[in-house]
Symmetry: C2
Subunit: 162 residues, 2 copies
């Protein structure tokens, strides 16, 4: 299990066009997550224009980073549970069924957000991921993301069309 | 109550730098909402690169549109409840306390999303807004957004610094 290559950078090409985290989406946010022990971590520096009000991060961007960090965490944890690396078959990809974000305080825009994720349930095709967003030592937002494994035929169709 | 000017375009200058909906944020999404009867509506055409997978809209963008549509709806409904227009004092602005999105099916990217909002609770400083995202006649996502009125001193500080 490599920790030097981002989880999202190990997705197959046909799964790498996401605006949030796809390495093949040149317009995208390029959100990248890594294992650190039993947690996953993403450090994300918003652009100066990603503001809610001047000085603070836009809530929709926070939701986006939580979302891609969570689906990446779910996939990485599922491979880990099967004891195999992300470049092995069959492909495992998780999509978001529901996203819940609590905004606890304004998130400063001048430093990277530290986004930590942990799978709290991995059962059947479902994975639940709890996420915290910390900035300047304080938790600014919490997320709960329910993800489900994308169907094999859906992934197969994608692979054939790209 | 004007319906020809977008709700967000009636925000004061110091409240118009939001990446999602601020008219003064030239890099932003320029999300705009309007009254249609008792509902608010936003029609939003994603860019071709706002993909989850090719052909479908990125979930973080859907969350963003729900968020700005909901806070705009909350503000507009609060002015309406007080029987006054958005250019009168005191300023009323709502910020997001929590955002919940259920993704029911993939949202096609080739047509505008129709986003409808309705305030289901407006009490004290809190407003709850229920949102649906429809595309090609089918509901693709549902949102519940709990918003709270921004403190007066916070708005005053913003006004003085811009």
């Amino acid at each position: 299990m490599s920790t030097s290559i981002a989880i999202q950078d190990q997705y197959r090409d046909h799964s790498s066009h996401c605006y949030g985290c796809g390495r093949l989406n040149s317009h995208g946010l390029q959100i990248k997550s890594y294992w650190e022990g039993e947690h996953t971590v993403c450090r994300f520096q918003p652009q100066s224009f990603h503001t809610a009000v001047p000085g603070y991060v836009y809530g929709g961007l926070i939701a986006s980073v939580i979302d891609c960090h969570a689906t990446g965490t779910a996939a990485a944890a599922a491979y880990k549970a099967q004891g195999r690396s992300m470049d092995t078959d069959p492909e495992l990809r998780y999509v978001t069924a529901s996203l819940h974000v609590e905004y606890l305080r304004p998130t400063p825009i001048d430093v990277p957000m530290e986004v930590r994720g942990q799978v709290t349930e991995l059962k059947g095709r479902k994975a639940v991921v709890e996420v915290t967003v910390t900035s300047k030592g304080r938790i600014c937002a919490r997320g709960t993301v329910v993800t489900v494994q994308a169907p094999e035929d859906w992934l197969k169709d994608r692979a054939e069309s790209t």
